[in-house]
């Protein structure tokens, strides 16, 4: 995929008016999240990492966003959604049970844990989960379709878009604190926002993005 925001690096705002001490502290903490399981067991971690790779495949030419680590962090710190489907257990319990059930389905179908399967087989299992067709005893009363739609997808995609790498990809400005935005109308750009490369304007966008701060 061609870069939509060539040369844009949201972290270049670090020492500009856009960020202050609090902003830097928040981003630093996020970037320093440990890349290892603390909430999850090693088995759960391997399964989760494999699920993350299929739900949010990442480019090879850059350090990946630590998706599994952010999910681990969310559960460890107890960041809740503010609501829960009645058929779903609390989020930490849902994740433990869902990952165990996925490994269980993999063992029954293919005699291997989920992370050890080919990507095609992983995708097949995930698709069946999405359609609610996985209903082994390991799931308990939790519908696999609800686990897919309300735990797997949101937790992993939210983890992805919490990282500056994803912000660069979509031209997001990061935390608007202390500096906000003053040009609120549609399709208007503040000089400290990422410049989108319209076809034929890649160089202009790159120059603009060099100045974003």
């Amino acid at each position: 995929m061609t870069e939509l925001y060539p040369g844009y690096d949201v972290l270049a705002k670090r020492w500009t008016q856009s960020w202050n001490e609090q902003t830097r502290a928040v981003i630093d903490a996020r970037l320093a999240a440990p890349r290892e399981p603390i909430f999850f067991t090693p088995d759960e971690w391997r399964c989760l990492s494999a699920v993350c790779d299929r739900i949010m495949p990442q480019a090879e030419n850059r350090p990946p966003v630590p998706l599994a680590a952010y999910v681990d962090l969310k559960l460890r710190e107890g960041f809740l959604d503010g609501y829960r489907y009645a058929a779903m257990p609390p989020q930490d319990e849902a994740w433990r049970r869902g990952l165990a059930a996925l490994d269980d389905e993999a063992m029954r179908l293919h005699a291997a844990r989920f992370h050890a399967l080919s990507t095609a087989r992983q995708d097949h299992l995930l698709s069946r989960m999405q359609r609610g067709e996985l209903n082994g005893t390991a799931w308990g009363a939790m519908p696999s379709a609800l686990f897919f739609a309300h735990r797997v997808i949101p937790d992993i995609t939210h983890a992805y878009y919490a990282h500056p790498t994803a912000w660069n990809e979509i031209g997001f400005g990061g935390p608007a604190s202390p500096r906000g935005y003053v040009r609120m109308a549609l399709d208007r750009r503040d000089p400290w926002e990422a410049a989108e490369a319209k076809p034929g304007e890649e160089e202009r966008a790159r120059r603009e993005n060099d100045r974003v701060g």
Binding site: Q17, S177, P178, R179, V182
Partner: protein, 308 residues
Amino acid sequence: MGAGFVEPAPWRSWRVRASPTSQKTRVPAERTPWDPDVAVRAGRRLNRASGTIAASVLLDSAIEHYRGSFHNKAMFAPLVSSALSLLAGLHGSGDRRPRPHPARDAAYASAALIGIIGTAFHIYNVGKRPGGFSFQNLFYSAPIGAPAALILSGMLGFLAERVRDNAPGTKPTIAGLAAGRVVAAGVAVGLLGTVGEAGLLHFRGAYHDPFMFLPVTVPPFAAALMGNAAMGSARKPRGFTRWWLRLTAVLGFAGSGFHIMGVARNMGGWRNWRQNVLNGPPIPAPPAFTGLALAALAALSLIEDQDG
């Protein structure tokens, strides 16, 4: 109304006969001698008042239209026009010749014209948005009252030139009316319009600071005093009006000071100036009141110098 109003001809013929050095000695004894410099002095003061408003418009429209990314090329027009009006004000302020200047007249006329077009444009801009003329759009889209300040600068400058456009030693008139009264009436209307703009935007700001009530209390009273001066007796002492106008003039600059503090109170303060100068209260806007008060003081002098 003085005699000069209804029969200006003798004054004109008198001017033609007079030599500049001996004007006063030739004034008929029963007539109050008109200082030939009165009109020029009033004209210069009005040039200055017009220039003050033009400076306010120049800075304000530059900031606000920069914020609007000069999306429409016409958004450069008020910058050019107010800059020319400001130059005309500076030039007129130093010009002691008792006649209008065609370049200044052109600058002022175009300022008034562009101000009128800008007002229409801003009205159109508000009206075309979803919700039309709702408070939301009046608050957050193009401010309807802002281009009117350019009209005021043009109007005051135009009046400055008309005041000069009187034979030296005659009572200055504009379109047959006493010049001081015309300017006083114009200033009263201008003050009320500017109060409307400040009132709307301070209402949007929820009058969160009690000082935000000042521009909706002090200038309206000044407008009332000027309305009275425009209609009332020229011989009545108006010391209180003068002091009230001086207060209004100071208020214009104080307003900028308050707005500078307002910018500082936004998140990030002045360090985050690229955001807050645009997003905070408009620093260059309040001196429009100063310009109007200066014009009002010039008008008062003209009225008081008049022969009743």
